[in-house]
């Protein structure tokens, strides 16, 4: 067995394919997650995220390809892999007839925690997940937000090196969402996290890198920042001027480095334009100089940053799904 050298990726997915009778849920997916990294795993509903996570946790077997967690093969060393992983499924399913503490005690045993360590760990995760006010409550009587946190507490119980969280903030109220995100960021300092979600601010806030999948294929793996830049490869500048619209449009078109000028509308005696730059150049100063030369009155001059949402929509709406 290849032992864990310092640089072994925490998660190593290679050529992963999952086919059902007629449907290909995952087609040749490969990506790595470095130790200590928080990797966002994005995709529209039905893109294959949950399938990939289920394979990663050993719940499903892949049709082809290999998955290694902490250097261990998921297929052949399933139990060791499961000991290293804390998995929060999309639907956090718990036993409603048990009390919170009772449930965690049960999970602590089957996760193989040493008897002496159990009590301390349960107390620790109760505190971490803000559950200290409900340890004796029946899980069935808890609100959705609390149940989600019980699931997360269970996930953290054995201090796993790798956390796999499938949409951890779905169904929480804004306050709880914020707490959960803060917790994820805090956890990211100690463990590797694969965070599946389609809530983009979450990714932007927590993740160092993002893998976007669409229709079972990877369409992008990069940092949120670089992804935004890539789409904004053509930078867009918004200008509002008091000038003759036709003349202004013509003058702007002649400016060096301008790829496209589009008139957005007339606003009391002036016009609004969106200007697309050809390369990665900042045209704002050129436009300002032009306005001074032409004696236009400049009302607005701003560069529009593409949001991660734009990137996501861009990457996952193309018909073939293939913008790479």
């Amino acid at each position: 067995m290849f032992e864990t050298a310092p640089m072994t990726p925490a998660i190593e997915i290679h050529g992963l394919t999952k086919r059902y009778e007629q449907l290909t849920a995952l087609a040749n997916i490969s990506f790595d997650v470095a130790p200590g990294e928080i990797m966002g795993f994005l995709g529209p509903n039905g893109a294959g995220k949950t399938t990939a996570l289920r394979i990663l946790t050993g719940l499903l077997a892949p049709t082809a390809g290999s998955v290694r967690v902490d250097g261990l093969d998921v297929a052949s060393a399933s139990l060791q892999v499961r000991r290293r992983i804390g998995y929060l499924p999309e639907q956090v399913a718990l036993y409603p007839e048990l009390r919170v503490q009772e449930y965690l005690a049960y999970r602590a045993i089957i996760k193989g925690l040493a008897p002496k360590a159990r009590r301390g760990r349960i107390q620790a995760v109760l505190e971490q997940c803000a559950l200290t006010d409900v340890p004796r409550r029946l899980i069935g009587q808890l609100s959705k937000g609390y149940r989600q946190r019980v699931g997360l507490a269970d996930c953290l119980l054995a201090e796993p090196k790798i956390l796999i969280l499938d949409e951890p903030t779905v169904g929480l109220d804004p306050h709880q969402i914020r707490q959960t995100r803060e917790l994820i960021v805090a956890l990211g300092r100690r463990s590797t996290i694969l965070l599946s979600t389609h809530i983009l601010p979450e990714v932007e806030m927590a993740c160092q890198r993002v893998t976007i999948i669409h229709q079972g294929r990877i369409v992008a793996v990069d940092s949120p920042h670089r992804l935004r830049q890539r789409l904004a490869g053509a930078r867009i500048i918004r200008v509002q001027l008091r000038a003759d619209p036709a003349a202004a449009e013509a003058a702007l078109k002649h400016l060096k480095g301008v790829a496209r000028v589009s008139l957005q509308g007339h606003v009391d005696g002036g016009a609004a334009f969106e200007i697309e730059a050809a390369g990665d150049t900042d045209l704002r100063e050129d436009i300002f100089r032009l306005a001074v030369e032409q004696r236009w009155i400049l009302r607005e001059l701003s560069q529009v940053q593409a949001s991660l949402e734009d990137v996501f929509i861009h990457l996952t709406t193309t018909e073939d799904g293939g913008a790479t």
Binding site: L60, L79, Y87, P89, A93, Y95, L98, K111, G151
Partner: protein
């Protein structure tokens, strides 16, 4: 081992906290008490054949006995896998570091222990009877032993049925029908005249086995048969749990 104990305790807790177990338990005791009283009345009839004993009637001698066995098993096992599949807790369970074997065994043990306890509670009838009249405990003990062994078979069939569906009612119906067919194998004896076939059928006949147990005869052949069927059902359950469809 600690996994198996923790998982089995979870199964027993699930039963303990569910209304089904109480309804089944209460009706079971009510029926057994009523049957015990009926048998006593029959045995006290002076026209009754004196060679018959309480144990022979109580264990397998009446319709009520088989009814209790064949009905309680599906009720105790129907939720084992179906409920976990329906609610999704099976996913949480199977992504924990537990083996499929441990999961299957714990489901079986949980339901079987409940079944054993249910029958064990009927010992009070015999204890009460003992105060009134002396009798031999031997056949009573083998009667219980036979009942518990048959229990292993019917519970294993119930667990297998539950692993096939996420609907508890479907699981119960499948288990019940399978058990009825299995039970009726012994009745085919009346239809065949070939001695060889007849002997084979009697080897599979639950009624025939219980008759022996209730007489105090501990034959290893039915014991081996029960253990084989039980293990085969649990093995199949494990295979189903290992298949993609069985895991969600």
């Amino acid at each position: 081992m600690s996994n198996l104990i923790a998982l089995t305790l979870r199964e027993l807790k699930a039963l303990w906290y569910s209304p089904i177990a109480y309804v089944v338990g209460a009706l079971f005791l009510l029926m057994q008490g009523w049957v015990f009283w009926l048998i006593l009345a029959v045995l006290n009839d002076p026209r009754m054949d004196p060679s018959w004993t309480m144990g022979q009637f109580f264990f397998g001698g009446t319709f009520f006995y088989w009814f209790s066995v064949l009905v309680t098993a599906p009720l105790l096992t129907m939720r084992t896998f179906s409920e976990e599949k329906r609610t999704g807790t099976l996913e949480t369970l199977l992504t924990a570091p537990v083996t499929d074997t441990q999961v299957v065994l714990s489901k079986f043990l949980g339901a079987w222990i409940a079944y054993v306890l249910l029958w064990a509670s009927t010992v009070v009838f015999f204890l009460a009877l003992r105060r009134l009249t002396p009798f031999d405990w031997g056949p009573i003990l083998t009667g219980y032993l036979g009942t518990w062994l048959v229990g292993a078979v019917v519970i294993a069939i119930g667990v297998l049925a539950s692993s096939l569906t996420r609907n508890q009612v479907v699981a119960a119906v499948v288990a019940f029908v399978t058990l009825m067919l299995f039970f009726s194998l012994g009745l085919l004896d009346a239809l065949v005249h070939e001695p060889q076939a007849s002997e084979t059928i009697r080897y599979l006949s639950l009624i025939e086995h219980l008759r022996e147990f209730a007489k105090g005869i501990l034959d290893t052949r039915p014991v081996a048969f029960y253990l084989t069927v039980t293990l085969a059902c649990l093995f199949l359950t494990g295979r189903i749990l290992g298949s993609p469809r069985g895991r969600s």
